[in-house]
């Protein structure tokens, strides 16, 4: 079953110099449980595409349907609720709320969903253990390494049991060892939690871990292939 259907999606930015088509007529489908990489050089439109997909930005043309819901049909308040329940985000860096501990950061999203305290805590502990940070529950982001911070961010993205997780260059600021560890954790959680992962990257070793690779260039999809991931 298709979780995400993107139809002829475009996004234009007006800059003083000219109009920039950051995403240009993209059509894509994602199914439940996919582990897909969006790959392309800097400026190819990866961030813009993920932001559109996450309902953070509005498309200039085209449509996005998630589990049958057209994002454009949602009012702003509904969109926020929809995001909270269906989409997890991991950003490139400074993902976490600096004044909250790892545990509190993961609980934060569930708190916004209004889930009861005991349930929140159990889920947060389970996820932090799953990303290998069971011993660092009470550490603040500043006390964690970059790789550990990104693992907390992945745990947080999954806390609300979303349909899919969008990760924009999650490994860009990590050394290659931490990057591969993060990818392995994401891949395992993708299987265990059943959430679709869509992540952007321009790191070939990260690309190699994906089961599907979508190439972007100048906002256009130039290639879309499934592959056997390297272990």
């Amino acid at each position: 079953m298709n979780v995400i259907e993107i139809e002829n999606l475009s996004k234009e930015y007006q800059t003083p110099a000219a109009k920039v088509r950051a995403v240009d007529g993209v059509s894509l489908r994602f199914e439940r449980g996919e582990f897909a990489a969006i790959v392309g050089p800097s400026g190819s439109g990866k961030t813009t595409l993920l932001n559109l997909l996450g309902g953070l930005d509005q498309a200039t043309a085209g449509s996005i349907r998630i589990a049958g819901t057209d994002l454009a049909s949602l009012r702003p308040g509904q969109l926020i609720d929809f995001r909270k329940d269906n989409i997890g985000f991991v950003f490139q860096s400074y993902n976490l709320i600096p004044v909250l501990t790892a545990l509190e950061n993961v609980e934060f999203v569930m708190q916004l969903q209004g889930r009861p305290k005991a349930e929140r805590r159990a889920r947060a502990v389970e996820l932090l253990e799953a990303v290998g940070l069971g011993e660092r529950l009470d550490s603040r982001p500043g006390q964690l390494s970059g790789g550990q911070q990104q693992r907390v961010a992945v745990a947080r993205a999954l806390a609300s049991k979303p349909q899919f997780v969008l990760a924009d260059e999650p490994t860009a600021n990590l050394d290659s060892r931490s990057a591969l560890t993060l990818l392995e954790i994401m891949e395992r959680l993708n299987r265990e939690e059943g959430a679709t992962f869509i992540f952007s990257t321009h790191d070939p070793r990260v690309v190699a871990k994906a089961r599907r690779v979508i190439w972007l260039e100048d906002g256009k999809v130039v290639s879309d292939k499934t592959q056997e991931p390297t272990i």
Partner: protein, 406 residues
């Protein structure tokens, strides 16, 4: 909500130094405002107590026209009806009758124009505390023909206890007034002007000298609360007999009122400038903090935190910061004001002389007014609110994408 407060609390301690600087600026403003205002209020009440309370009185009854033209023709006929009307007012607790006029005072060696004040010695003493200011001798006896002379005047005329002072003047309705009286006391008056020109005698003797039996120039009203001088006088206007007026000290001493008002205005100006500076300081801190935390706010919005919750959090941070600074400022100012309230500063030099010229004790006692502390709190709260307005509005308009790209 408690989560928002928790984050707000932790946020203000993130940049410890900035928080301390901002809170200190609030602390300083509050401290300075309280100390300065306490000093002003204390000084004003010291001035009024000395100048007004000790001589002029907080209110007087006079004949219509006497205030503008202080001649005996404008003296008043103090009838029992007038006295009853005045004493019937609940705030009037006592009366100090006076007969004031001018005369030429002469001793064996020299002469000088002086003010002659006829008083009921005991009554006058309870108000003007003449006996505290006596240098030598005693007050005139209740109805006796004897005089009490101000210190500098006695020096000028080269007279002392037991000497005779001659007074020559013009009595009521143009009758000439001449008399010779023994000096029974020398008094030091705080106002240098009065200290060089005043002669006290008994009321009866003054009336006799000026041929004005039964007449007075003014009746000082003792009030239960000096703050009510103006309304009390306004109320008395209706019940006083024809031809008499009740004047509050504000009308009797317009220079003093003016001096207090201009001092008050300059004080408020200084405070106003101080608050504007502190307000801009808070504003600047907020803008800087928002710029630094833009991306973080973008992330928080992306994961589902509403703009209003964000604004509430930042608002709570400002409230905490303002409260912290205000309480610290109050805590710092309180012991100082308390100490100076009980141990007034003694002035010296020119300042002291200027106050002495006004007949005021040269001290700066601090007022201890809890009401002012509360006002300070509200003022700083308003200041923080105004300074936070724009930054909070900008959070309410924050765009996720732009914030994330920051």
């Amino acid at each position: 909500m408690s989560e928002i407060l928790k984050m707000a609390w932790r946020n203000i301690w993130r940049n410890r130094r900035r928080t301390l600087i901002t809170a200190s600026s609030v602390l300083f403003a509050v401290f300075f405002a309280i100390v300065m205002r306490s000093m002003q209020l204390g000084t004003y009440s010291n001035m009024t107590a000395n100048v007004v309370g000790a001589y002029t009185g907080y209110a007087q009854v006079q004949a219509q026209g006497y205030w503008d033209d202080k001649t005996l023709d404008n003296s008043l006929d103090w009838t029992p009806q007038a006295e009853q009307a005045v004493l019937a007012h609940p705030r009037v607790v006592g009366l100090v009758p006076r007969f004031d006029s001018f005369a030429l005072a002469a001793s064996d060696s020299s002469s000088k124009g002086v003010g002659v004040v006829g008083v009921l010695p005991a009554t006058e003493d309870s108000m003007s505390r003449l006996s505290d200011k006596l240098l030598e001798g005693r007050l005139p006896a209740p109805t006796a023909a004897e005089v009490l002379v101000a210190e500098r005047l006695a020096v000028f005329l080269k007279i002392g206890l037991g000497d005779t002072l001659a007074l020559i003047g013009m009595g009521y309705q143009g009758i000439s007034a001449v008399g010779e009286y023994p000096v029974v006391g020398i008094v030091r008056l705080p106002s240098p002007q009065l200290n060089a020109s005043l002669v006290y005698t008994s009321l009866e003797n003054a009336q006799e000298l000026f041929a004005a039996e039964g007449r007075l120039t003014s009746v000082v009203l003792t009030l239960d609360d000096p703050d009510f001088a103006e309304p009390t006088c306004a109320e008395l206007a209706a019940s006083l007999p024809e031809g008499l007026v009740a004047l509050p000290w504000q009308e009797l001493m317009p220079e003093l009122v003016q001096q207090i008002e201009s001092d008050q205005a300059s004080g408020f100006l200084i405070l106003g400038i101080l608050y504007v500076i502190v307000g801009f300081g808070i504003f600047g801190t907020l803008l800087m903090m928002l710029a630094e935390r833009r991306r973080e706010m973008g992330v928080m919005m992306a994961v589902g935190m509403g703009r209003r919750a964000l604004a509430t959090m930042v608002g709570a941070e400002m409230v905490l910061l303002g409260t912290l600074g205000t309480l610290a400022g109050m805590a710092a100012a309180f012991p100082m004001v308390l100490y100076l309230h009980h141990n007034p500063i003694l002035l010296e030099g020119e300042m002291a002389q200027a106050m002495l010229n006004l007949g005021v004790e040269p001290i700066v006692p601090f007022a201890l007014e809890p009401g002012f502390f509360v006002w300070q709190g509200l003022l700083v709260a308003a200041l923080v609110a105004v300074a936070s307005l724009h930054p909070l509005l900008s959070i309410l308009k924050l765009n996720v994408i732009n914030a994330l790209r920051a």
